[in-house]
């Protein structure tokens, strides 16, 4: 079965093996026409043939995907090295159908030995095996962009990199799809003036450049929103550059890698972990390989797992049936949620700044939910809402209590991320600070927005779909493992835990928005009503004059008096509170009273339970 002779030709990369005896290195596939010859398929070959799965299915989308992968990598690198990122993206049109993308960062640079694999090998990366928050996770993206460039233009990727201590290196390389390994065309030291460290990637590819909701421009703009610590220079093809300045110098919090949480591990995975571990006791295994398991919890688990297992059982010798009992025991044991220092949300304050910087609106609100867990993976949801075209409500309250019209702000419509009043709200989706531009309909975030009752916040929501309002909704998920529905990372899978959290976030923002909208509507009403007074009082005078045959001075005196009385008491208690209104007030009061009552009871129950548990121990 094994063919050790073959391995002598190999470099350090996995090379497809053939069951045929043919061994020519140059043309490993030629002549191998025996129909039944089953063979390994290199993952690069697979994705080359199925590149639409990676998002490279149209020229318009391809350039967006490439920019996205390059920028994501640059940001990840800067953050890992605790550098305040400054990234430039430059698109150049080479010929009618060919564009060159260049992305340069001020990150730590890439060690010589890594350059080839990072850019010339699929499924290679530092992020897949870790449970920690990062933009990339699969080790496919940037290599796939290079592969696409090579496939459509024949041109390799040009990478320039300088680490703090090393010299700047420029490598020209492509991916050997048959073997899924890098092929270096050249590598040389170069001088890189004014650059202390950083990486620059250039890829030429067949592409088409368009503006709009799902364009590179949009990706760049949304990236600036979600990464307020980033300075981003962007040059569109043949166009002038634009710079998004950073809004803060605070870098995102450093995140820690975590071990898997016991509740997220499936039986099969548990069995392989038992087999692979270096631990020599079950107790040690549980505490070492998982988070949130200490001696007490380990003991509880093992006890629940039945008599065949003890704390000292040797992990690699545990049979399937016992593993199954162990798995059941884990699922039945109460274990605290995973630690959340592994995820770094943007934060309500910074998110607010990001929104205000890039979206012109009347009202902003943001919410960062507490961390939660799906399938053992911690995640955290953030929601932001920008509402109202400037000047939309158009009224504001002076300090003295008078209402006045507010000034109109000029809006550049092409740059506007906030929907028009008669359009569905715009939805901006982010995963680990990366904007998601495609497959909105299939995304768990969209589902959550649609399932939220926006009517409760004073918006219209025709047909139970997206709310229709001058509004942009932003939703960000930060997680150690974002559950994308496909390799092209465009939409979230609909885990109920995620949908629930997004909805809670939307509701939190929605309530504040609702208050704002109601306030706006009330101001408008009051303003209109005061105008009424001035309009209609004279007519009461005329009518009284006609009926009671008053003289003109009598009439004017009555009008004057009435105006004074009415303004002194602008709202008669009856006008505000018809009989109906009093009932309502009473009911509200009752509800409030009851809720106080309920919360007190709940606290009591909690206290009692805690006491009970404490005694149980």
């Amino acid at each position: 079965m094994t063919q050790p002779s073959d391995t002598l030709f190999e470099l350090d990369d996995s090379v497809p093996k053939k069951s045929s005896k043919q061994a020519s290195k140059k043309a490993p596939r030629r002549k191998d026409t025996s129909a039944s010859a089953a063979r390994d398929i290199s993952v690069a070959e697979f994705f080359e043939k199925n590149r639409h799965m990676l998002g490279f299915d149209s020229p318009t989308k391809a350039i967006l995907m490439a920019v996205k992968e390059a920028v994501d990598n640059a940001l990840d690198a800067c953050e890992e090295a605790a550098i305040l990122p400054e990234i430039s993206v430059e698109l150049t049109q080479v010929s009618e159908k060919v564009f060159r993308m260049a992305v340069e960062d001020n990150g730590p640079g890439i060690p010589d030995t890594q350059i080839g694999k990072i850019f010339g090998k699929l499924l290679y990366g530092s992020k897949f095996h870790k449970l920690s928050q990062s933009r990339g996770q699969q080790g496919i993206g940037i290599s796939a962009a290079g592969m696409y460039g090579k496939l459509t233009t024949g041109k390799p990727v040009v990478v320039r990199s300088k680490t703090k201590r090393g010299r700047a290196v420029e490598a020209v390389l492509s991916i050997d799809t048959l073997r899924n390994r890098p092929e270096e065309h050249s590598r040389e030291f170069v001088s890189w003036e004014g650059k202390s460290q950083g990486t620059r990637v250039e890829i030429e590819m067949e592409a088409s450049y368009k503006k709009g909701q799902r364009s590179v421009d949009m990706y760049i703009k949304q990236t600036a929103i979600a990464n307020p610590h980033l300075t981003l220079h962007y040059t569109e093809p043949g166009g002038a550059g634009i710079t998004y300045e950073r809004a803060t110098k605070d870098k995102p919090a450093q995140t820690n890698e975590i071990k898997p949480h016991p509740h997220g591990v499936e039986l099969g995975r548990l069995i392989s972990m038992l087999k692979e571990t270096g631990c020599r006791s079950l107790s040690g295994f549980l505490q070492e390989e998982f988070c949130r398991v200490g001696p007490t919890v380990a003991k509880k688990i093992v006890e629940a797992a039945g008599k065949k297992l003890s704390l000292k059982s040797y992990p690699t010798r545990i049979a399937r049936d016992e593993a199954s009992s162990l798995h059941k025991a884990i699922s039945e044991t109460k274990i605290s949620s995973p630690p959340t220092d592994c995820i770094a949300p943007i934060g309500e304050e910074l998110l607010l700044r990001g929104l205000k910087k890039e979206l012109e609106a009347d009202f902003y609100v943001t919410a960062t939910r507490p961390a939660s867990v799906y399938r053992g993976n911690p995640f955290q949801i953030e929601v932001g809402i920008a509402y109202g075209k400037p000047g939309g409500v158009g009224l504001e309250l002076e300090e003295t209590g008078r209402i006045k019209k507010s000034k109109k702000v000029k809006v550049d419509a092409t740059e506007d991320l906030v929907a028009n009043a008669d359009e569905p709200a715009r939805l901006l989706r982010f995963a680990n600070r990366v904007p998601l531009l495609y497959q909105q309909a299939g995304c768990a975030i969209t589902k959550s927005v649609v399932q939220t009752n926006w009517r409760g916040y004073g918006l219209s929501q025709p047909g139970g779909g997206m709310p229709v309002a001058p509004m942009a909704i932003m939703v960000h998920i930060a997680s150690v493992w974002v559950p994308f529905t496909s390799e092209s990372k465009e939409a979230l899978a609909a885990y109920p835990e995620i949908i629930k959290e997004v909805k809670l976030g939307l509701q939190e923002c929605g309530r504040k928005l609702g208050t704002y909208i109601r306030k706006g509507k009330r101001l408008k009403r009051e303003y209109d009503k005061r105008e009424y007074i001035e309009k209609y009082i004279p007519h009461i005078g005329i009518a009284l004059q006609e009926i009671l045959d008053l003289t003109n001075p009598q009439r004017d005196e009555t009008v004057e008096t009435l105006a004074q009385v009415l303004k002194a008491a602008p709202r008669s208690p009856r006008g505000l509170m018809s009989e109906f209104g009093w009932y309502l007030l009473f009911l509200f009061a009752w509800v409030f009273f009851q809720s106080l009552w309920i919360s007190r009871l709940a606290k009591q129950v909690n206290n009692l339970q805690e006491q009970l548990e404490a005694r149980g121990k």
């Binding site: 009461i540 005329i542 009926i547 009671l548 009555t558 009435l562 009856r574």
Partner: protein, 383 residues
């Protein structure tokens, strides 16, 4: 502008008792408002509540009556426009009484176009304010017609054993209109009937739903054989029709027999409105309903008795809803067991029959067979 025009009109010779009452009502209302302002208290107007919740039905009285519920409308930023419009319409009313003139609801709406900002934007606005004023007046026993706001619709056709006594408004001459001498034509009821007087030897009034049936009975002079007065309603009777029938039946102590289609619309809308008025206009029922009215036909039972089954149409969803509403929510139908039974029969049968369905047995079957048979057995009438 309106004031100036009014002064051109000749002064009224004499005011009737009702007219004086009307003027007093308007003046006292305005007076109260002005006094309130002088005391620096926000003035308010009190109107009866016009909704089903403020309505009661007693068999004895025979019509839906307004309850004691009142709503007070205080002057405030919310109500100032309505308040001004109410007072201006009352001022207009005063002017019309003094000049013996009137305005249709539509005209009243147009008159307001001269009020500047205070004008009504749509007619439903002016109608609503007018309804409030009418409700206010109804407490004093005054109807909208007393306030000189007349309905748009005329009052349907009358023929038969009746002389109507009117007067020439200009010359004051008494006019005697003999409704037996209209030939194939008929007398049209004016939109206010308060001033009419009657002479008749008829035994009853037959109120008919459709113009076609009226034409047949008039053409064949059924009023002569039946010794009665024929009145065509043409659907739900207008205010003027109802008031005309009411005054005629009161004055001359005549029973009123209602002859309509056998369907929930004929029963619960046309007949019910004629007899007891409607719930959301209870303030006017005391003038406009005809408690003496009885339901001659077509009854659900008639469909069987006169074998009309194959000249029926199925009840529509809206019919079924209407019938069920009547059964469950309408105090009138709830108060009368025979109606309960009849409506249930109708629903069970699932079909409706029109007056004209009788033509199945020949065009004049209705005069020659149906009406005589029904009149011979008045117990078959429904209350």
């Amino acid at each position: 502008m309106a004031k100036k025009k009014a002064s051109k009109k000749k002064a009224r010779k004499q005011l009737s008792v009702d007219d004086k009452k009307t003027l007093t009502l308007i003046a006292s209302t305005a007076e109260r408002v002005r006094n309130s302002i002088d005391k620096r208290i926000l003035p308010e107007l009190k109107f009866p509540i016009r909704s089903l919740s403020n309505v009661k039905y007693e068999k004895k009285i025979g019509y839906f009556e307004l309850g004691k519920g009142r709503k007070a409308r205080a002057l405030s930023v919310n109500t100032v426009r309505n308040f001004a419009q109410t007072l201006r319409l009352m001022a207009q009313s005063k002017e019309m009484v003094e000049n013996d003139d009137f305005a249709t609801k539509r005209e009243a709406y147009y008159v307001s176009k001269n009020w500047g900002e205070c004008k009504f934007k749509e007619q439903p606005e002016s109608d609503s304010v007018m309804d409030d004023i009418e409700a206010l007046a109804s407490l004093e026993g005054l109807s909208r017609e007393h306030l000189r706001y007349y309905p748009e619709e005329h009052g349907g056709a009358v023929a038969g054993q009746l002389v109507i006594i009117d007067r020439d408004k200009e010359t004051g001459e008494e006019l005697r209109i003999d409704c037996t001498r209209m030939g194939s034509g008929a007398y049209t009821i004016p939109n206010s009937v308060e001033h009419l007087k009657f002479e008749t030897k008829a035994k009853f009034i037959l109120a008919i739903e459709t113009g076609g049936m009226f034409a047949r009975l008039n053409e064949h002079k059924y009023w002569r054989t039946g010794n009665c007065i024929l009145i065509s309603m043409g659907g739900v009777p207008s205010r003027a029709q109802r008031r005309f029938i009411r005054r005629l039946s009161d004055d001359k102590k005549l029973p009123v027999y209602c002859f309509v289609d056998c369907d929930p619309y004929g029963i619960a809308n046309i007949y019910r409105t004629l007899k007891v008025g409607s719930g959301n206009a209870a303030h006017i029922n005391r003038f406009f309903c005809v408690p003496k009215a009885q339901y001659l036909g077509v009854t659900p039972q008639d469909i069987k008795d006169f074998q009309l089954e194959d000249a029926t149409h199925p009840l529509q969803a809206v019919d079924v809803k209407r019938a069920n509403d009547a059964l469950k929510n309408d105090p009138f139908f709830k108060a009368h067991a025979p109606w309960q039974k009849a409506l249930r029969t109708l629903l069970k049968g699932g079909v409706r029959a029109e007056q004209q369905a009788l033509a199945k047995w020949g065009l004049n079957y209705v005069m020659e067979e149906y009406l005589p048979a029904k009149l011979k057995n008045k117990k078959s009438f429904l209350p």
